[in-house]
């Protein structure tokens, strides 16, 4: 008498499971390896890390962030792993979270020889992290909707530009570089004035969207006339031929300046592969890597003063906000709390 057909299913499932797991079994390389956690966009980080892997023979295992997690996941993973870290290197696309990690004793001091020509203002005094390269917070304008002569030139234009506020957008200022931007304004204008600015943005009805990439996409498609985003997102739209233009805000002589957000690299405290980690850090902080990342359009500015060959053709020097990175980081927690109170409702 034949057994019921469904009786075979558990066995089939077990066989399929074993087969699948066999095909994904990871045999760890016997050679050298380094583990890097990075909030840099995978598209760019992967290229740089592949170059290092090919040149050094060190196997690079990367953990990338995704936009939806807005770096929060990766940072908290490092904090949670503090007692038994998996990561060797932390490479961030910004600095505020790196400062927070340093304050939580997640990072270890390392003075890379490659960073000798990087200004001291872009490095931690205790050697816990080093900044390099730079992205900027820019205005991305849809050229089909806004004439060249009528383009906004300041972040204050979000408040009084003569168009419907639902044509203006910015990423949620609780997360990522948008939060860092808020903290920079707190450090520059003072908390009360900065808070008032964002309160006015909320009151006006400027569209708050899910990330810088969303701002980019909506400006490129014409859903927005202009918005604030990062240069890497903006340059991505330019490269794809979207009808957009970048504007570095507040570049007048007496203007606020544009927030420049450097990448940061750090050695993780207790890194399982410290020697390999230092090698990777040396390469990431090198001028050649910086130039390559500029050419790839992940970063658009060099803290070393070298212009680089950005495909986005930004060219001219950009006037920064002139505020210490540490001062910005010190305002981050308060700024995030206020942004949550204003925009999360």
């Amino acid at each position: 008498m034949p057994r019921p057909r469904h009786a075979r299913l558990p066995a089939l499932a077990a066989i399929a499971l074993l087969a699948l797991n066999a095909t994904t079994a990871c045999s760890s390389a016997a050679g050298r390896q380094v583990v890097v956690y990075t909030s840099v966009d995978q598209e760019y980080a992967e290229t740089a890390l592949d170059r290092f892997e090919a040149a050094s023979g060190i196997d690079v295992k990367a953990v990338y962030d995704v936009e939806a997690a807005k770096t929060t996941g990766l940072v908290n993973r490092l904090i949670a792993e503090r007692e038994r870290p998996l990561a060797d290197v932390w490479w961030s696309g910004e600095f505020a979270q790196t400062v927070d990690l340093a304050q939580r004793d997640v990072l270890a001091p390392y003075a890379s020889p490659s960073a000798a020509d990087i200004p001291a203002s872009a490095k931690d005094a205790g050697g816990l992290w080093t900044g390099f390269g730079g992205r900027a917070r820019v205005l991305l304008v849809n050229t089909d909707k806004v004439d060249a002569a009528d383009r906004p030139s300041s972040i204050r234009d979000l408040l009084d530009w003569p168009i419907s506020p639902d044509q203006i957008g910015m990423a949620h200022p609780v997360f990522g570089t948008a939060a860092t931007h808020a903290a920079a304004l707190y450090a520059t204008w003072g908390p009360e004035a900065a808070r008032a600015y964002y309160q006015d943005i909320a009151t006006r009805g400027v569209r708050i969207v899910d990330g810088n990439a969303v701002v980019r996409d909506m400006v490129a498609s014409g859903e927005l006339a202009f918005g604030i985003t990062d240069t890497d997102d903006a340059c991505g739209a330019v490269k794809r031929g979207a009808p957009v233009a970048l504007v570095f805000p507040d570049q007048e002589a007496d203007g606020l300046g544009t927030l420049i957000v450097p990448n940061t690299v750090a050695l993780v405290e207790g890194a399982p592969h410290a020697a390999e980690a230092q090698e990777l850090i040396d390469v990431l902080l090198s001028t050649s890597t910086e130039q390559a990342l500029i050419a790839d359009d992940w970063i658009q500015l060099s803290l070393r003063g070298a212009p680089g060959a950005s495909a986005c053709k930004l060219g001219a020097e950009v006037k920064g906000m002139g505020v210490e990175l540490g001062a910005i980081a010190a305002q981050l927690e308060r700024a995030k709390a206020d942004m949550g109170a204003i925009f999360v409702r």
């Binding site: 019921p4 057909r5 469904h6 009786a7 299913l9 499932a13 399929a16 499971l17 699948l20 797991n21 095909t23 994904t24 990871c26 956690y37 966009d41 995978q42 295992k61 990367a62 953990v63 990338y64 995704v66 936009e67 939806a68 997690a69 807005k70 929060t72 996941g73 990766l74 940072v75 908290n76 993973r77 904090i79 949670a80 792993e81 007692e83 038994r84 998996l86 990561a87 979270q97 927070d100 639902d166 609780v174 997360f175 939060a179 569209r207 708050i208 969207v209 899910d210 990439a213 969303v214 909506m218 014409g222 859903e223 997102d233 991505g236 927690e333 949550g340 109170a341 999360v344 409702r345």
Partner: protein, 567 residues
């Protein structure tokens, strides 16, 4: 001989203990312990950290209570989730009733393939509708349908509710099928002698299916209220986002956990209410309503409503597929995208399958344990508490639990599997409990008397009868794990990524054509899983042939409160 007496007494005591040893209870308890460890482990660790935070910083206790700002967000979240879940269930019932009597045999069983569509993540639906609106000349996520000369805003709560309802509609259809199609034919046929088909549906079938439909609605409520991925795209803030904001602001998992407590309380209330609604009257399923020779003739208004619901299901299926195929067709490097994502595809399949299989035994044990004990509302609350946890917090809890010298699993490929188990074992337990409740108690009792051992009866009687629920639970675990991001991101081993992680990466980069290609793969994988589930369910149904045979002898309503009483 005095020394022999204590020995004899001990022997007799041991013999009595052995004789009274209830293997079933022992296995249930062991399985429940495993369930607690897997589903609650990360939670308990975080609760410990939260308790310590409260002790060290009593002011953080303020997070436990919604403020004047966050209370409206919480209320909005409840209203939103309730609207979406009720709408999805109502539409699902219309769709299921529309499918009765139209097809027979294998085609009927293949309806379960709609489960595959449940594997399409909600954000894909949102992007698809956005793409459709753009194609129509409108702007999505805040746009206006100018193309039609009508200024309609597709934004805010209404747009988010529309997209969410359609995104969860396939899952709702599967749950509604399970709810409506286990009503004994005899009960329906008796009513048919006196009432129209519509009245039979309204007065017999649906009331008997209500408890399971309540459970379906509760499940959808929980899924909706905890997922902010769609609503955030439409500028709608749910409380789940507030929790994530708290996490981001403080980088303190314990503080974020305290912020999540109000949400967990709401979810717990829903689960407890659902538990009280579960049927005390268990129906002995000799034959389902479908395949039992019922070709209902519905009233015209109902047929219209069914047509609308089916149309919405078609839209829920067609719009994402159409948008994805259209975008994928624009890709000049589709094959390259697939090749590049090969590792992620394989890894995702392995993780999802492993999580579904690994979660089954403890989920089965939990369902059996709850069924055996007639749990209180507090027990239900405790069972489903992990459902209310933000995924990222579960990830952090997993690291804390498994990044120790004694349990050094962090960094290994199994961690995302544990994340899937921790997140979805409670959901699977609920599905299995619903199936367990519907098992004929007399059939189980007969096995308990005649079995050679507990394992004998479980393997040959209980498990086969529960197979539809087992397959359904495993399928739910599989598709949800496939789309899981929050916890997976935290625990994915270095050098490994899932398909969902890669999709999100491309989303950020703006490579919408690559996103479309990968999402299509996700849909295909989910479809394969759904077909497997459909075949499995069809095999079970085939063993009880759908032919128009005479009814099996003997059926009765077994009232749990009156079991054992002679009629």
């Amino acid at each position: 001989m005095t020394s022999a007496r204590p020995l004899a007494a001990w022997s007799q005591a041991l013999a009595r203990a052995a004789g009274s040893f209830d293997g079933a209870r022992a296995w249930r308890s062991a399985g429940m312990a495993v369930y607690v460890a897997l589903a609650y482990g990360p939670v308990i660790v975080l609760f410990g950290a939260a308790a310590q935070l409260l002790v060290n910083s009593p002011a953080t206790a303020a997070r436990l209570v919604p403020t004047a700002r966050t209370l409206p967000i919480l209320m909005r979240s409840v209203a939103f989730a309730a609207t979406v879940s009720m709408a999805a269930v109502a539409l699902a019932v219309l769709i299921v009733t529309a499918s009765w009597g139209r097809h027979g045999g294998r085609a009927l069983q293949m309806r379960w393939a709609v489960l595959a569509l449940a594997g399409v993540p909600p954000y894909v639906h949102a992007l698809a509708w956005s793409s459709l609106m753009t194609l129509l000349g409108a702007w999505s996520m805040g746009g206006q349908l100018g193309w039609l000369g009508v200024r309609i805003q597709f934004t805010g709560l209404s747009a988010a509710a529309w997209v969410s309802t359609l995104a969860y509609l396939p899952l709702a259809v599967v749950l509604a099928m399970m709810a409506c199609e286990h009503v004994p034919r005899s009960l329906r046929e008796v009513a048919q002698l006196d009432r129209s088909d519509g009245a039979v549906l309204a007065r017999i079938v649906l009331p008997l299916a209500v408890p399971a439909l309540v459970m379906a609605g509760a499940l959808l409520f929980l899924i909706t209220i905890l997922d902010y991925s769609v609503t955030s795209l439409y500028q709608v803030t749910l409380y789940a986002l507030e929790v994530f904001v708290a996490f981001s602001q403080s980088n303190e998992a314990a503080a974020a956990l305290l912020s999540a407590v109000p949400l967990m309380v709401v979810c717990g209330v829903v689960v407890a209410a659902m538990a009280r609604a579960l049927p005390r009257a268990m129906m002995a399923p000799d034959r389902g309503t479908v395949g039992g020779g019922w070709w209902p003739r519905w009233p015209v208004p109902m047929r219209a409503a069914q047509a609308l619901a089916v149309g919405l299901l078609v839209a829920a299926t067609g719009v994402p597929l159409f948008s994805l195929i259209r975008l994928a067709s624009l890709s000049t490097a589709a094959l390259q995208t697939v090749v590049q994502a090969g590792d992620e595809i394989t890894y995702s399949l392995a993780v999802a399958l492993s999580a579904a299989v690994l979660a089954l035994p403890p989920a089965l044990a939990a369902a059996s344990w709850m069924h055996a004990r007639r749990p209180s509302a507090i027990a239900w609350f405790a069972l489903c508490l992990p459902l209310a946890f933000p995924s990222s917090l579960i990830g952090i809890g997993l690291i804390t639990a498994f990044n120790t010298p004694f349990l050094p699993l962090h960094g290994t490929a199994i961690m995302p599997v544990l994340a899937g188990v921790a997140r979805f074992a409670p959901l699977m337990a609920l599905v299995l409990f619903a199936q367990r409740v519907r098992l004929d108690a007399t059939l189980v009792d007969a096995a308990r008397v005649l079995q050679g051992s507990t394992w004998h009866g479980w393997r040959r009687v209980v498990l086969p009868m529960m197979l539809p629920g087992v397959v359904a639970a495993a399928s739910v675990g599989f598709v949800l794990t496939l789309g899981e991001l929050g916890a997976t991101l935290i625990v994915a081993p270095p050098g490994r990524a899932t398909l969902t992680m890669r999709i999100y990466t491309y989303l950020h980069f703006g490579a919408s054509d690559s996103v479309a290609v990968l999402c299509l793969i996700l849909v295909v994988v989910a479809l394969v899983g759904g077909v497997i589930a459909a075949v499995a369910l069809g095999a079970v149904a085939g063993d009880r042939s759908a032919a128009d045979a005479r009814p099996a002898g003997g059926e009765r309503m077994v009232n749990d409160a009156s079991r054992g009483l002679a009629p």
